[in-house]
Amino acid sequence: MHASSVEWRIGGDQGEGIDATGDVFATVAARLGYHVYTSKFFSSRIKGGHTHYTVRLADVPVRAPAARVDVLVALTQETIVRSLPELGPGAPIIADAAFRSEAPVGGGRVVSVPLTAIAREIGTTLVRNMVAVGASAAVLGLPLSEFARYVEEKFARKGATTVRQNLDALERGHRLAMGEAGPALPPRAPGDRVLLTGNDAVALGALAAGCRLMAAYPITPATDIMETFADLAPKFGGAVCQMEDELAAITAAIGAGYAGARVMTATSGPGLSLMQEGIGLASMAEVPVLIIDVQRAGPSTGMPTKNEQSDLMAAIFGGHGEGERIVIAPATPEEAFADAQLAFNLAERYQCPVILLSDLALGVFQQTVNPGALVSLPADRGQVLAAPDAGFARHHVTDDGISPRTLPGTPLGQYLATGVEHAPSGKVSEDPANRTAQVSKRQRKLLPLQASADALRLEGTVGADIVLVGFGSTSGAIAEAAAALSESVRVGTVQVHQLWPLPAGQLQKALRDARSVLVVEQNSTGELRQLMRVAGLDGQRVHSLLHSDGTLLRPDAIEAAAQRLLAREAV
């Protein structure tokens, strides 16, 4: 393992507080100065059914789950069964005494702690998980004091009894597991890290960008964006309009974008499908609007709680006719924070819909983020005329294809915005020459994006034996695989950040030297690979690693695929 990291997991039934417990553990780990990456397994149901929450602690930034679970807290037998294949040899399994006798535990080793009994003694089974946290701290050699401080802070408003019970639970769990051998991490200087999901980061980034309005309809895994925004925006004069469906959400957003507000909507695949017609309206009427798509496993309802990156083609090509769209995909919460701002700048500068393509893993799993890495971008509000002259024509055919607009309320700026093809004035027109001029004007607008400075994020592509290409949350696993591979080969990575317009020339250049290219995607048809082909990038040396079974793609799987490819090429 290139980095010193430890993976802790707690598993049990939904509704048993697994999430809350995971949050405690992750937060304290972050406070202790570790880099933290969390991931969750959960189902589309409210109570019951297996769930687990995994926290990876490391001394370098990690953006993916590890190959093995090092410590497992098992509240149910099912937890052990399900996590078996991932358990490291000799990994401690902290579990109630009841489990001791039940085989198999695979490579693991049960550290039996009477979690429930202790909780009952303390007076409430609600603290059962906290006993396990105390035990985990002991096994991992983490200072209990930091857990205690957390409990004192966060549980204070629940009253002194609650605080005392939880502290008690922590201590008793800790005491019982002291001396149990476990993987240890070097202690770190306490850090100023925050724990953010991509969804948090998008909501915060939008607020930072001056967005005060969101029109949306709940859907897993995008709902948190709306909930976070509903919590925070009113403090800054903003609001969430919970609409009746996604058709209403996108159209409300377009109305607000037309009127001059920074506005967003957020959804997942099914909602993206429903928004396709509206997105086309924004393309045609040249209205800035931001759509967040937090992808989940499709098609149709698919697997709503499982990760996938399978809306790429739909985000780009999903509308009837040929409307202009910009699609960007952040890989980390930091990028999500920046991209929410960037997306508004792009939407207003280019007067078109921007799709921020996130995914479930990025969207809902917490990671540590250095607050200093949450960068504020200056706002680019695009070309807006405060005092239009008499000849004002909304869709004036300009060299760069961008036509200055007026906002409703501006005297003498009245015009008709429409999804029908129109003359420069905005009036409906079916004239063939006008059609050609308007189509090419709209297409021309986006040409400069071919040269976007941050369209691609390259690492070591020059003279590489193998280049790993990916987008979105997969980039974290790719980076880790690349680090591991770099011990034996020259390996490069390309994160395609601006997916559309695809920066074909830049990509061509980045891949020129590579002896082989592996495009890594969490879907079943290789959508990025297909896009690369459209851009003229392909040939024998380009290969795909596809993963779409609903589990997270792990760095070790990428590493193995790359090794196989290198071995094959070497023949």
Binding site: T27, R193, V194, L195, L196, D200, L204, L207, A208, A209, G210, R212, L213, A215, L232, A233, P234, F236, G237, G238, A239, C241, M243, E244, L247, A248, A249, T251, A252, I254, G255, A256, G257, Y258, A259, G260, A261, R262, G278, L281, A285, P371, L374, S376, A379, R381, L407, P408, G409, T410, P411, L412, G413, Q414, Y415, L416, A417, T418, G419, K427
Partner: protein, 290 residues
């Protein structure tokens, strides 16, 4: 600005409706109402649907957005939320509003956003050349129902009342003064105001004609016994009259518009303001994530 005149609300374009189309009357009454209410063209936004009716925006010199079929109301909500100083009108046809747009209609009514909704109801799909619409009569033969439609008609007034609308009125394209007055009252209302306008399609609807309406309509404004103050009485009346009424049917004097009721929502327009957070504000928000 100086007093507005009808001329201020006109565009150079000649309305392309068929000669005799009821929509001419709606356009005229709308322009009169705008003038009477003294609103400025640049502070007026018309959100129009797709249909013959939806062309109306082309003929009013205001800001206009011509959206996709059925979505006038959510778009109007968006405009109003972005800039609450604007007068926002949604206009469209019966197909646009009561077929594909039905869900939005019911929800706009209950949400009570301060948007005015004018439906040009000709009981037919005009622009697509004569298929039945939700308000077509049962038994009416159209291109899509050559042997007669078998569905009960949508009753827009009853539905609006059932959905919780705080202002419900019906006008008739030929009754210009009343219609202009009703649209004016809708503009003055604080909340969602719905005006259904019977606007005959002379080309594709041979049943719901000017003559028919002149005979059949009961004027509630002129009915001394009727007071538009009780939702229950209003529902009973429109059901009794099979929706064949004109006038103000219901107005809730206590109406608080959505944008005013929303906790924390700014009293100034969002549009035109720079509201980026300062680094300190961002840092403040991050405190919640430690």
């Amino acid at each position: 600005m100086a007093t507005v005149t009808l001329q201020d609300f006109r565009t150079a374009e000649k309305a392309w409706w068929c000669p005799g189309c009821g929509d001419f009357g709606v356009l005229a009454a709308l322009q009169k109402a705008l003038v009477a209410q003294g609103v400025a063209p640049h502070e007026t936004v018309i959100v129009a649907g797709i249909g013959c009716s939806g062309k109306i925006g082309n003929y009013v010199n205001s800001y206009n957005i011509h959206v996709v079929h059925g979505r006038t109301l959510p778009a109007a909500l968006g405009v109003k939320m972005a800039n609450r100083d604007l007068l926002v009108l949604a206009v469209g046809g019966d197909g646009d509003g009561y077929a594909i747009g039905m869900g939005h209609f019911v929800h706009a009514a209950r949400r009570n956003i301060n948007v005015k909704y004018i439906v040009m109801d000709n009981h037919i799909y005009g622009l697509t050349k004569g298929q039945n619409s939700p308000t077509s009569d049962r038994g009416q033969a159209t291109k899509a129902t050559p042997l007669g439609s078998v569905e009960a008609s949508v009753r827009p007034l009853t539905l609006a009342l059932a959905a919780g609308a705080t202002f419900v009125a019906q006008g008739f394209s030929s009754y210009q003064d009343q219609l202009a007055r009703l649209i004016g009252a809708a503009i003055a209302h604080k909340g969602f105001a719905f005006v259904n306008v019977l606007s005959p399609c002379v080309t594709y609807n041979k049943l719901d004609t000017y003559d028919f309406y002149k005979q059949a309509l009961h004027d509630l404004d002129g009915d001394a016994a009727y007071r538009p103050e009780s939702r229950a009485a209003a529902v009973a009346k429109v059901m009794e009259k099979d929706d064949l009424v004109t006038g103000l049917i219901y107005k809730d004097p206590e109406s608080v518009p959505y944008e005013d009721a929303l906790p924390g929502f700014a009293r100034e327009p969002l549009a035109g303001r720079e509201m980026q957070l300062s680094p300190e504000e961002v840092a403040g928000l991050l405190a919640g994530y430690r």
